[in-house]
Assembly symmetry: D2
Homo-oligomer: 297 residues x 4
């Protein structure tokens, strides 16, 4: 089917190639003239599509997505559908959907997992929105998803796709943290000679067999103790949103939060807490004069 794609970066570009390979007629636009775009403006994109149009927005969440959707609200017509495949927060979806609905334009939010491997393996897709809009875009989703029974779900109403993706990423945080705790414990112990070899042996037949273990095999093949990898990690937002959403819902999420906090601490987030602890220890432990002593005695 025909579709417009806005944003031809790593994700959007790969998706277009996968869709074209599956016979779809995709018109691509990107701000960057070197992106291999088919048209050079949003206006031209809209003009190049036959109504009712489907336009997939694949640009960074926040201001870029906001302004793109706002402009599409002006350019598109009643009956058209916008799909937000970026990393928007689920609360933003409702705002985008409401704004577009004023013009009779439909809206689907689509959480996408799979990373750079998705181009080849297919992307796991989670969709939020109305049944009718979902059915309209379904041929596109079917081409993007992996082969087989799984990899695509109509998760719920508007916001449900990004909510599901948020939870997916929160789980991903917890799983990676769990693997990390196991790896670090074995690496410090005298019992396990090669933690990486041990963990990757679990790729088949064990309860923890998973794609992340497959990736760990890749990651440790030339660096079994991960000595070349920095002991610091950034966070992308979704785990934080999930912990916040769960707090409001009254659901404890200690594992997701622990994974998130450790990343924050690796960037100095806990430093002021530690200063309080060490300052208090110095107060009741004795009049220590050198700060190095404060922290170690």
């Amino acid at each position: 089917m025909q579709m417009g794609m806005i944003g031809l970066g790593r994700m959007g570009g790969n998706m277009v190639r996968r869709l074209k390979g599956d016979g779809h007629d995709v018109v691509g636009f990107d701000m960057n003239p070197d992106s291999g775009r088919d048209v050079d403006s949003l206006e031209a994109l809209v003009a190049a599509l036959d109504a009712p149009r489907v336009v997939w927005v694949m640009v960074p969440a926040g201001a870029p997505t906001d302004s793109t959707i706002a402009r599409l609200g002006e350019l598109l017509e009643s009956g058209d559908i916008v799909v937000d495949g970026g990393n928007s927060k689920y609360t933003e979806d409702r705002e985008h959907a409401a704004a577009l609905a004023k013009h009779g334009i439909g809206f689907l939010d689509c959480g996408v997992s799979g990373g750079v491997w998705g181009a080849e393996r297919g992307y796991a897709l989670m969709i939020g929105g109305d049944d009718r809009d979902y059915e309209t875009v379904l041929p596109i989703f079917e081409s993007l998803k992996p082969e087989g029974e799984f990899g695509l779900v109509h998760a719920g109403p508007v916001g449900g796709g990004h909510f599901a993706k948020m939870v997916h990423n929160g789980i991903e945080y917890g799983m990676m943290q769990a693997f990390g705790e196991g790896f670090a414990t074995m690496l410090r112990s005298e019992y396990v000679t090669n933690p990486a070899e041990t963990m990757t042996s679990w790729r088949t037949g064990s309860v923890v067999a998973s794609w992340l273990l497959d990736l760990l095999d890749n990651a440790t093949r030339n660096d079994p103790e991960l000595k070349d990898v920095p002991a610091v990690a950034n966070e992308s937002g979704e785990a934080k949103w999930m912990v916040e959403a769960a707090l409001e819902l009254g659901v404890p999420t200690p594992t997701t939060a622990a994974a998130l906090w450790q990343r924050q601490a690796s960037r100095g987030g806990a430093d002021d807490i530690l200063r309080v602890v060490t300052a208090l220890r110095a107060q009741f432990g004795g009049h220590v004069t050198k700060v190095d002593e404060i922290a170690t005695h």
Copy 2:
């Protein structure tokens, strides 16, 4: 090759069937006369095997394993090998190995993952002990492991197999907790209509694809909200040991511990903590007379 198996319960019995199916000559013994045992005593088991013997112990950890290995120390000869395939703690392995070594008997500890599915899929095996003993028993390990490149590792010296299995199970705790947090968050939210369908859609193409997700699909097929499953979970020891080992090694394990603590709390472990909190709230919050009010206001 020839081997003796002590313990013909669910795990031991399945293993014997898998080994016999692969052409091994396995002599089985169990305390239970209805177990399908080949011999009716440890003495008879030892007598039925040609030296140098390999005897696999597959009985509950603790006293049963302790007494079995102690008796084997008396019955076996120098050059024989004992394999402990149960859930012993890694610290016990060193004691068992030292006691057997006095008689010239070798020892391997073998952590086994795979549950009831292992009979068919093969078991993920983690082995601790000397290279020579490992090489001797390797044909047995090769028959028990799953097909393919993975599923068997010589993790380290004596204790390394059970240490690796302990860490494996700690990771398993963390992963199940992560999936649980995601499921519970979606179940309470208004955004995701069917959390089970959403999660099982991740079985292909997503970053969290894993065998546990495959199992969740089974578990939720007829009970998508898991309403028939009790909100209580027991613990089997390994995660506790892992947290303790990591504490000693100076490695934080918040995710593994959170998963363990939640199970302990589900059995009343946190009740006295809550009583303190509620009693203090009543003290500074006002003179509440009815205990129900104390907890809710």
Copy 3:
């Protein structure tokens, strides 16, 4: 000085008594005719005060405070000051202050700690707002605070008072949880005969000496094992807000969150997580038919 007090419940009523005892001229209003109110409407309250007026709002956070402040915006004059002494969220303070500022009315937010003991001991007060407004209301604050050097702080701009109170309560959660963990650990051990007696012995001379320990002494005097206290606790919002604020600021708060989550779990918040864990264990552990077995084996 002269002041109006809106809300004559336990907190407001006690404050009025303390203020009148200190010679202030307080005009009280409450929706409840049996509250001992001096006037029977907001209009009458405003009319009874000389400009520039100070009006203290001591009603439940959310809709009651919102509507009261909105009405005061209509009734008061430029130069008057509104103090919100309730438990509003710090983000609401900025909205209230902005709405009042349109009419030239000043705004202070005042976090109050001390519970029912404050009437006698004085209240710990944390104030947010402009210096000039703070100086104007200072005589009131001075009468409400405890005797001595401490108990009153101009914490920051508008919102700072409630932000500080939110953090105060988050710390309070963590401290109560810490005491609870210690109490519960001793209660289950065979080493400590009387945990309550042991803990209250720390009221003097120990590092953990604190008012909460003093209160624990009261609470355990007739019920040393707290057997009459329910093992369930509610949450009042502040700890949740603090964890959310810290998440946004990149500061890990595992202690505050653990205290909050345990309360949520005591009200069933973790039940669905446990169902997932137990359902998965049943999947890989064997075909268990009775749900009780699922949770215990």
Copy 4:
């Protein structure tokens, strides 16, 4: 009464001064000739005391305490009493008591809180052991404890004193962590101008009033943002032991553990976990070549 003191370091020396000031006849010994010792050997110490003797051991836990108590077992007589006032683990107390009991020598374990302030304020003491031994040494305890009703408890049988002290220190960890989380959250926010001033205002009238807040006032007086304090903290063992004991007892201790783990992480304990997380992110996020990018994108 008469007593021998072994170990005249900061703690032991201060205790001797406090005891002598209260009229007790204390004979002091220390390995260090410059310690102001009264005798120059354990033998001389024992010879200088009249039977039945009370000997207080105030040396580092572990080997020094083990060897001192072993030697006292040889030198003392039936009816004498040894008090271990150091930081021994509660499990060691039982071994020490059993060894001394063979010679008819009594044993008390004494947990001591109060730090360097104890010399002036008195020490909070927690005692484990038999009633009779406790009564014998009571005059010494009465002199060491603070004035007033609190500060001394006969916590339980042998090991109870150090178990109580262990729990005391675990609580102390949690409280300091709670204060730290609050301080750090305020320091990063724009709402609170001076977190230290705000927190120390809580010293009177607030629910979190405590000796630790008093100490925080000292610590922040010349360095309100604690900029001169290192963001690293060591651990002394007791919190770790408490978490381990609670794990065995089935009591969740997330707050105590979080405080401990943060200190371990500040010394690199979480680094290998973070390496796993970052290595996996790089795997599924794209082929990143520079390690700095891996951690930040």
